[in-house]
């Protein structure tokens, strides 16, 4: 029942489509409905478009990077519309504030597991309104009361007179009718698609190679380019000699751009070879001596002097509590994203227009980057979002768009700028390193007081400065200030550790690190208190029925407390990520100083599971993503540059180390709260807590390959 995938042919056809049909413009709550165009035209800000051939096109204003949004969002529309999923097509939204997400300040952002919660009501309303208009059109044609009509699988029925009409046949009439407001939505018991098992709409093209990622875009007359960027953070080109690069067969031009030197060629390989042949003298700037060691020394100095420290959350009087004191320092590494598809963008800059094809998670920012690179106003720049070969937060930046526009402008030709894997590993916006100082006080076996100091570079400071308030970056404090535990005396403090290593969003920022601290330290405290780690957590979560339930289900499914096979121990961790709960129990043994994870039980409560198997997929994916980083993931800095190069020294999880992951989704009819990230944070501490049970060694830094060496 797969709908045809969006191939490049479809892509162009859809973006240029002006066929007859019902164009329905609906906006997010709080905005006035946009004008609806009828007849042969459709409104460019439509969420749903119904064509005479019965196809239902849903505009998806979020990027598909594997998380299933190009299936999940159309499901919301189709359910309320009573459309058949077989007839549903999708179109990725252009860069236009009309498609901005009010939940994210009106920006077009795919991140933070927000797509489903933010689309839940508006897209259902779009479907319900379209359905009401189709019913009204049919009733008008038949001269019957709309209330006597029913709908199913894209057809309006009037049973008393045994008449029916497909949505496509009604589209032209429906387009002439006024847009009703406040059309009631279905109650959950009436859902036909939401919560039921449905296939992903993008499977077909993903098993035969036809789906189009950024790297696959082909534009007539297009050439290829690779850019040599400063190996040292903040460095600049001092001078360069292109003689050898230009001698490489296929190289056609060498041009300097704002972030380096671009080699243009007839194919990607020639561009890569030409880049390698460039002789560049870099002005390395002030950062050429920065190293991981120097950065951690700086962080420790900041932690001790409390220089620039701000209170992020405080309750009770954590300093006045007496009892058994437990203190610890945790150190987290930089991490690269290493999406399977390296960064790339294709640009066609003309005198008065700039067209971009790019796998990106930020259409409006991509448009701004295109404007900057082309020197044209944003309104003259068009962004085509392709499928993404992974995102994980890396594509929340648009650096690859700006540089592509710069190159195209310089050479007056369409160009695809392709990154090598080395470029990708060494010019990322990294999950920032972190130093966390924690102190807990136990009294009578209970955790009475906790302080948690985070020293971590703020990536919101440059990416979304408005969110940084009173010196506190909320992203840097995820799973610290909002850890689910009820601790009567608590203080969380933050120090923005400014340094030249570019920082950005990395799947579940930065709970992806802070959860390791919170959940490892809670385990330390449970051990000191002589309590079972799961029971200790349950006691701290008495106030939170959903957390309690998720933990209890995990304990049951994983067989917590039961006798394990020899050499295997279990560890548990819990997190609350943007409204979703994730609990992981990991069965671990030690093999050659490294943990071997045999089995993972993951319990998630994300409200309504719109597409249950995609929820399971995402829980599995997020778990493996976190495990990959925990086992061997680290980016280190020496001489102001990244030491790692490619998958041979930035190693990632492969099948041999991937555990069996059993996912249990808590049944719920609550509003969905997102699933793409919640299982990334808890896997590392769950494994570390199992390691402690096995070895007595408390792991306070990652990756395990360093900590246990």
């Amino acid at each position: 029942m797969d709908a045809p995938a969006l191939s490049r042919g479809t892509f162009i056809r859809l973006t240029g489509a002006t066929g007859a049909g019902l164009g329905l413009a609906l906006s997010f709550p709080g905005c006035a409905p946009s004008s609806q165009s009828g007849g042969k035209d459709f409104s460019p800000n439509a969420w749903v478009r119904i064509a005479p051939d019965d196809t239902v096109t849903v505009v998806v204003n979020k990027s598909e990077m594997g998380q299933g949004v190009s299936t999940g969002l159309p499901t919301l529309v189709a359910d309320e519309l009573d459309a058949s999923m077989n007839n549903v097509r999708i179109q990725f939204a252009p860069a236009d504030p009309k498609y901005g997400d009010p939940g994210l300040g009106g920006d077009m952002i795919t991140g933070g597991s927000t797509s489903m919660p933010d689309s839940w009501l508006p897209l259902r309303a779009a479907g319900a309104t379209a359905r009401a208009m189709l019913v009204a059109a049919a009733a008008k044609q038949w001269g019957v009361d709309p209330a006597t009509c029913t709908t199913r699988d894209g057809v309006v029925y009037h049973q008393p007179s045994n008449r029916s009409a497909s949505y496509g046949s009604l589209a032209a009439t429906a387009a002439t009718l006024p847009v009703p407001t406040d059309v009631p939505l279905k109650t959950p018991d009436k859902f036909t698609l939401i919560g039921k098992q449905g296939r992903r709409l993008d499977l077909t093209g993903k098993v035969n190679g036809t789906i189009i990622y950024g790297i696959d875009v082909q534009v007539p007359g297009m050439v290829y380019a690779a850019i040599a960027r400063s190996p040292v953070f903040g460095g600049r080109v001092k001078s360069f000699d292109a003689t050898k690069a230009k001698a490489v067969p296929g190289v056609t031009a060498v041009v300097q751009v704002s972030n380096g030197v671009a080699v243009v060629a007839k194919n990607t390989w020639a561009a890569f070879q030409g880049k390698n042949a460039l002789q560049i003298v870099w002005d390395e700037g002030p950062n050429a001596k920065v190293s991981t060691a120097s950065l951690f020394a700086d962080a420790e100095r900041l932690a001790k002097t409390h220089n620039g420290e701000h209170v992020a959350a405080s309750r009770g009087n954590p300093d006045s509590i007496s009892g058994t004191v437990v203190q610890a320092v945790y150190r987290g590494p930089f991490l690269a994203h290493a999406t399977m598809e390296p960064m790339n963008a294709t640009a066609d800059v003309r005198a008065d227009s700039c067209e971009i094809w790019a796998p990106n998670q930020v259409q409006l920012r991509a448009r701004a980057a295109a404007a900057k690179g082309s020197g044209l106003p944003p309104e003259s720049c068009t962004i085509h979002t392709t499928y993404l070969g992974g995102g994980f937060g890396r594509r929340l930046e648009a650096d690859y768009v700006q540089e592509a526009a710069e190159v195209s402008k310089a050479i007056k030709s369409p160009v695809k700028v392709m990154w090598t894997r080395e470029d990708d590993i060494q010019h990322d916006f990294y999950r920032p390193m972190s130093l966390n100082v924690v102190r807990g006080v136990l009294s009578g076996g209970e955790l009475r007081s906790l302080t948690h100091q985070v020293v971590q570079k703020s990536w919101y400071r440059s990416w979304w400065p408005a969110l940084v308030k009173k010196g506190v970056d909320p992203g840097a404090m995820e799973d610290v200030t909002d850890a689910p535990y009820a601790i009567p005396n608590f203080r969380a403090t933050y120090i923005d550790h400014d340094h030249p290593i570019t920082a950005g969003s990395w799947r579940a920022p930065n709970a992806n690190w802070n959860c390791f601290v919170t959940e490892s330290f809670v385990d330390e405290l449970a051990h000191t208190a002589g309590k079972d780690p799961l029971a200790f957590r349950l006691a701290l979560l008495r106030h939170d029925p959903r957390a309690t339930n998720a933990l209890s289900v995990a304990a049951l499914k994983a067989g917590w407390g039961e006798k394990q096979q020899a050499g295997i121990a279990q560890g548990v961790a819990v997190t609350l990520w943007n409204g979703s709960y994730g609990v992981i129990v990991a069965d671990v043994s030690m093999q050659d100083k490294m943990p071997k994870v045999h089995r993972v039980v993951a319990v998630v409560d994300c409200g309504t599971a719109v597409n249950p198997d995609i929820v399971v997929q995402q829980a599995q994916s997020a778990t493996n993503f976190g495990l990959s980083a925990a086992l061997t993931g680290k980016i280190t800095i020496k001489g102001g540059r990244v030491e790692q190069n490619n998958f041979y020294d930035y190693t990632v999880l492969r099948m041999a180390d991937a555990p069996s992951i059993e996912v249990h989704v808590v049944p719920s009819t609550a509003k969905p709260t997102g699933i793409g990230e919640v299982c990334t944070p808890p896997i590392a501490p769950a494994v570390a807590n199992a390691i402690f049970r096995l070895t007595g060694k408390r792991v306070r830094e990652l990756p395990f390959s360093d900590a246990l060496a």
């Binding site: 790297i215 194919n267 070969g389």
Partner: protein
């Protein structure tokens, strides 16, 4: 001119002899189903069959592919009817999907050699990287395809 045979069709290409097969197929023949992931034969996104052997073509000079039968993801079927494609859909393996052309080609080669691979044989043969972490479903899909084939 270099002559190569891809999916049964002969192509003459004007490229240097050391250009990797991957880039010849992608940029010169414009068959983009096979992906670039690392350029150093680490990730397997570029896997094609060269005389039936799953090969990481990002490091295979095109000159070494002359006279051999090269098969890409595009050759499996036009309607996703190949048993491995069917299994991939049934198990709903792909997420971002970028690595899956290479994964599928590696799986097809494995099943051609070993009709009913054990779990260990699957793990040993399937060393391609998937950053979405679809490994469990890849394993299930290979088992399913082995049962159906």
């Amino acid at each position: 001119m270099i002559s190569i045979t891809v999916n049964g069709t002969s192509h003459d290409v004007d490229v240097p002899a050391d250009m990797p097969l991957l880039w010849v197929v992608r940029d010169e023949l414009h068959m983009t189903g096979t992906k670039f992931g690392c350029g150093v034969a680490q990730c397997g996104a570029c896997t094609m069959h060269v005389d039936g052997v799953a090969t990481r073509t990002c490091v295979l000079p095109v000159s070494q592919a002359v006279g051999k039968q090269i098969r890409t993801i595009e050759s499996l079927s036009t309607d996703n009817s190949h048993p491995v494609q069917r299994a991939w859909i049934a198990e709903q393996v792909p997420q971002c999907g970028y690595c899956q052309s290479g994964q599928i080609m590696a799986a097809v080669a494995l099943l051609q050699k070993t009709k009913k691979p054990t779990d260990d044989e699957i793990t040993q043969a399937m060393t391609n990287i998937c950053r979405c972490g679809t490994y469990g479903r890849i394993k299930s899909a290979i088992r399913r395809a082995a049962g159906e084939a």
